[in-house]
């Protein structure tokens, strides 16, 4: 792994005030993605996975305080709180896909016009049409059929491909895909993910695949990070994590994936996500953990290297018996 990272997020911390309490909704989040890699970011809703990726491109909601961390992309480093700087990456190699592609496309423009308007940012006007036709083709869409339609006239799967054509129009080297297939049926989901994998190979495109569905990540990613309540609980190469899942949360997740082909959500675990008060220091999983013991409440466990990857749980401390 001498290859330097394409994208690196270090120690991102995001806070907000809710119900009169300051809550740390993301804490010490780090992530590193190499060229052409598909990296999985897994967690249930509210775990901070989307928020931290949005923050990494300067698009976090204004009500969120980004109190620490920095992000580097292709050699340019910005403080995580520098929204303007981070947003400049968006026209220079980082792009996004959203879960709700129909809502993400502008309702006021035809699909063809949306792709062309992104292209117009970096190409002379005369070549935009030709390039748009090519992008439609790359994304498996028929330009003649769809370019004059509005987003409300096409299917969800088509909309996600149009969104992809828009994203590709920025010539990205990193695509942050926030549950891009959740709104689609299983067949369309597979097609789309297979297509994304092919893009990665052909265009040297790296993808951060945000998912609440561990089986998707297992199938397509080379490495993964599992977030719980705004903290990394386990991360490492996919093979190592799946061969020897350490954290009780990860084990719960993997146990909940009986068959990789049947997508499962993270619901089967008991209990809800931790409320996030930043003045309470303990293992944030303790109220759901079958192995919880008094020591778990003593402080936030450190992230420890074990079995070829990293885990945040006191069961794996050096002095643990």
């Amino acid at each position: 792994m001498s290859d330097p990272a394409l994208f690196e997020m270090r120690d991102l911390t995001i806070e907000t005030v809710r119900d009169g309490h300051r809550r740390r909704i993301v804490e010490g989040m780090s992530l590193s993605v190499r060229h052409g890699e598909i990296y999985g970011l897994v967690g249930e809703s509210g775990s901070g996975k989307s928020i931290s990726m949005m923050a990494s491109v300067g698009l976090a909601a204004a009500s969120l305080d980004i109190t620490a961390g920095d992000v580097s992309f292709a050699g340019r480093r910005f403080a995580a709180s520098d929204r303007r700087g981070l947003r400049s990456n968006l026209s220079h190699g980082v792009s996004l896909l959203f879960q709700n592609a129909k809502g993400a496309l502008s309702p006021f423009l035809t699909t063809g016009a949306q792709v062309e308007r992104v292209l117009a940012g970096r190409l002379p006007k005369s070549t935009c049409r030709r390039e748009a036709i090519e992008l439609f083709r790359v994304c498996g869409l028929n330009h003649a059929d769809l370019a004059d339609k509005y987003p409300h006239q096409i299917s969800g799967g088509q909309a996600q491909r149009v969104a992809m054509a828009c994203a590709l129009a920025t010539e990205p080297r990193l695509l942050i895909a926030d549950e891009p297939t959740t709104a689609l049926d299983v067949t369309t989901e597979r097609e789309l993910l297979r297509f994304l994998t092919r893009l990665c190979r052909e265009r040297d495109l790296a993808i951060v695949l945000i998912a609440h569905n561990l089986s998707l990540v297992a199938e397509y990613c080379s490495g993964l990070t599992i977030l719980h309540a705004g903290q990394i609980v386990e991360r490492g190469p996919l093979a190592s994590v799946f061969a020897e899942p350490l954290h009780p949360y990860t084990r719960g997740l993997i146990a909940a994936v009986p068959d990789v082909d049947a997508p499962h959500e993270l619901e089967p675990l008991a209990g809800s996500v931790w409320g996030g008060r930043s003045d309470i220091e303990r293992c944030r999983f303790s109220h759901r953990c079958p192995f919880a013991q008094p020591d778990c409440e003593a402080g936030v466990p450190a992230l420890l290297p074990r079995a070829g990857h990293e885990v945040r749980c006191i069961l794996y401390r050096e002095d643990a018996t």
Partner: protein, 346 residues
Amino acid sequence: MRPMRIPPVLSYVLRRVAISIVVLIGISAVAFSMAYLLPSDPVTSRYPDISNEQRAEMRRQMGLDQPLIVQYARYMESVFRGEFGRSLGTGNSVGEDLARRIPATLELAVYGILLGTALAIPLGMFAAIRRGRPTDHVLRLVNIAIQSVPAFWLGVVLIFVVFYQLRWAPTPVGRLSPLYSPPPFFTGFYTLDGLLSGKFDVALAAGRQLILPVLVLGLGVVSPLARITRAAMGESLGEDYVTFGRALGLRERQVVLGDAFRGALIPIVTTFGFVVGNVLAGAAIVETVFSWPGIGRYAVTAITTSDMAPVSTCILLVASGVALTNLLVDLSYALIDPRIRHGYGK
């Protein structure tokens, strides 16, 4: 051979126009009865010192002794002839009177609405973008201040300060100071007609007369429009398509003006429809304060002298204006949002 198909938008317009005509006839009946029921008597208010026999004779001559239904029928007949009855005050047909006064009111209203909109929309947008920050709070205070100033008071204060004290504005004597003669008629707007006929001094003089009344009328528009712009923009700025537009590296101007503003436009245009109605009502006050020879002042004079035909006709005119505005507002929805446009076909 395919049967001829009426485009869905056109059939929608025709349907709306037909409904509007029925509604307007209803309004004319109500307006006429209300004018008839006014407590004062048109003859007494004009000739207070005549004998009862003379009064009865005058009423008979004017047709006032006829039952209400007959008077209304006569009025409607005159409406369809384009005369709209006869004004007891001016002696002309109401149609003639209005033809002379409508351009005066329109010039005032159009400039007032343009000014108010040009102020309100940027203010509202700016507040939405700065939501919750100090700029937003300051703008909200300004808005409340504007809203709480009544038009007649503002008009009188402006005349006092800007005309009497500062001498910046010309004497409020209506559309044009008596030193100038009106320009030839092209549009009915003295400012435009002055420019079109090359009489720039007349255009300038007419423009100077317009400043204060347009300001008063325009400020009345600012508050509701700015408020709805802030609310609607605040919502549309949070839409996924705005975030995605930003994520695609589109310029902020493209995202905010192109997508977010367009997303906010339907409630703004709806409010704009209400506002036009308010302006037509507000014109009565502003025209009275500034001696503006428009339909507002004409209507006020007619009401105070129980001049029935002008009162009914002015009500009918304002109602038609509001109906037309609402139709245009509805049609603009289809232009703004393709989802609504495609809905017409279904």
